[in-house]
Symmetry: C4
Subunit: 255 residues, 4 copies
């Protein structure tokens, strides 16, 4: 395997679908949302992407079988709402060129399926452990800004300051070349931990956009687990601070 | 040399052989077992693989000649038992793409020789200096799990947690595409040191699988040397700890 | 996108133009000057260069749209003076090979437009926060040295000691192969901070070379902002030094 | 420039020459010897090699012109002794694959010129600042060992322990494939500093092999400069040690 392999598992008929991308990234926000959607919509796997630009690694399944690191595309066919393609994966590429190549492949698939709009999902790390529920936006077509604001997405001057890195960013930049509208939805998150709470915020916005009611119980459960972990971290930090103060006081006696 | 070179040294006739891979990795467990097998079975070198993805380096032999870093395939023809191909090597690739390419080459060879099953050998690092003799397994076909358990191989939920990295992992993942059953046998090891004791455990399991009696004296000797080294390390650590305690006590007098 | 893309936006008629390159580098001196020129001359964008060797990233514009990282070529057509091509960009390549490829592309463009001379702009980091206004030179043709000295450019033995890295350097080295004269103008700078003051010095020299009067107000404003920031840093350093001395004195009382 | 370029400057007639390689490496021993040979033999440049695998950089000459990083081949035609090809260069490649490619190119040149033997020159770092004058050897053909010992070259079991890295090593490993005898001569050196003293030792051995008398004044001068620098370093280290002891004594008074 010297080249990236696009393995088509099934061809499906879709009507000008929406494509949603949620690969691993800051706080795993995009990945959590996209995988939740695949599960709740009971979407069907149609494509697997293997690449020498992914880490040279297999992951072990629950039945003790090993699977190559890969990206996958799932399809959801709706009778009454929008058809949807969802891109998920275990890892992003580890080489610079790989990010560009995988993005190109997702856009080829988008053109083949006449995708009419792309939403890329991610997290925006602030370095603060406080939650906000804010979803930040960026687009590839300024006409979309007002519409997105209508869904509660915020647009802030000069944010994200460093731009958007990885496939979520490149899809936004490269979709312009093939005339597909695209937006990136970024859940505000600390950037230190997997953040199902921020994923809930992104999912909530996305549900409005897609006009779908999606059960969020699984994300809520994970968010509650995470809250307990964060409370524990904060508690330990406070204890550490008191201990540090204590130590300083002890030190004064040495003088 | 801009491309990987597969140098066929000799063509041999084998009857649907088993392929065993033991390249350098955690605790050099796989390498120790595979090289021991080559020596004890007096297997014959049939292929050398050179690649610009290997480190740009030569190693010096006992007769002061230098050899390019390479991977090698040895063949063992048996009158009564399974024929065997064994993959060994000085190094794994240093580029991401190289791992995928070398794995593809090993699978090409496997198909050419009608290999019926692949065993990849490695170590599973626990961070503990205690020995266990446990051999952990992963497969590419869930039907193999019960058979492997019969040989004393353990299967544990979510282990190895990080998956399996390098050719041992990729062979497991990619052999599915060419319909060859494969299992990875991982000796539990500290991950800090070359571990002939763990290699003995893997070799013992592999001997049962292959129904071969293999002299393990050489591995036992190396294991005893290693035990002495580990005892020395533990002793030094204890002395260091006592010394640290001593220093702490001295410090109290300053107060 | 597996290959670098040169997107021609517009063909223009120019008379043996001069090409000026100012990509990001030490103190962003070259980038500041080249972008200032584009703005003041109201130059027209004629080419965009996209590459998998650039960081896999988009940058966010003021209208919340995202743009792929790219390099750009602008054209300035003059009635009375030299026509000019200006190369600017957000980033340089992140791979080794990319620098060579982008330089080759700029030279292809130079040949297509019959460029008669190339000026590459950069900073030369000294590690000192003192300003000097000096512009250091290097050429690809020793005949140019005296002419360049006439514009106030200094040539110093063995400087820059480490050579010139990136596209500014490679353009100098590779333009010889296509018989185009080239000079690199390097503003002396600390190397720690974006340096609009050093950019002013380079712009001043370049204006003389091009026989153009260029409004430098924007650069002057940025330089004044930067002076305030540097004054603040120096002040903080002095306070820190006094504090350190204070601490040392305190420590003496412990003895 | 997306590919490595071999620029033939001049074709020369040579009688089965010897090829000597001295690119930058440990202590720059090989580079010092090879460049000294080029100068003393007044050898003629016949080939320049440019590559996107070299650092993206130009170096500045004494006349303020800039040259791309490159490797070069020089030819020396003798009336009475062996003809010689000498490979020198500013840098080695910065990519893994580049080392293999440049080595392949040197071997292509060797075959074109019917090279009958290759000597690669380097340093062997011991981590000690003591000089020894020892030259260590490795070969690609065990028949050469006795001959090399006759020139005072030492062969030691398991040294260099880590093998030989870079073009000097790869030439040894890959020359076997084209049936050219090769030896690597390594001057023992600290590995911390440029070492003209070790270069003198290697040059002395090489002069015997080539049956040439070579003026070593330039290397001797550089060696004397280096001795003064090392003496200074040793002196400073001793002062530092005394100072440290002093500080420790002062500290005792605190208790």
């Amino acid at each position: 395997m010297k080249e990236t392999i696009v393995k088509v598992i099934k061809k499906v008929e879709l009507g000008d679908p929406i494509l949603i991308e949620g690969l691993p990234g800051v706080g795993h926000v995009g990945k959590l949302v996209a995988e939740h959607l695949v599960e709740e919509l009971n979407a069907e796997k149609i494509i697997e992407i293997y690449s020498p630009h992914f880490p040279p690694q297999v992951l072990i399944n629950d039945d003790f079988t090993a699977d190559l690191v890969k990206n996958e595309v799932y399809a959801y066919k709706s009778d009454t709402k929008e058809d949807i393609l969802i891109v998920v994966g275990d890892h992003q590429c580890v080489t610079n060129e790989g990010h560009y190549e995988i993005t190109g492949i997702i856009l080829d698939i988008s053109q083949e399926y006449s995708v009419k709009r792309i939403y890329t999902l991610g997290g925006y790390g602030t370095g603060q452990l406080t939650e906000s529920g804010t979803v930040l936006g960026a687009v590839n077509n300024t006409d979309m800004v007002e519409e997105m604001k209508g869904y509660g997405i915020e647009f802030r001057d000069n944010e994200p300051a460093g731009g958007i890195v990885g496939v979520s960013g490149l899809l936004l930049g490269m979709s312009k070349f093939v005339d597909i509208d695209a937006a990136c939805l970024m859940g505000i998150t600390s950037g230190y931990l997997v953040d199902p709470k921020s994923a809930q915020a992104v999912l909530s916005v996305l549900s409005k956009i897609l006009d779908l009611e999606i059960n969020t119980q699984a994300l809520e459960d994970r968010a509650k687990d995470m809250e307990r972990i964060i409370a524990k971290i904060v508690e330990m930090e406070q204890m550490q601070m008191q201990h540090d103060v204590g130590t300083d006081e002890d030190l004064r006696y040495i003088g």
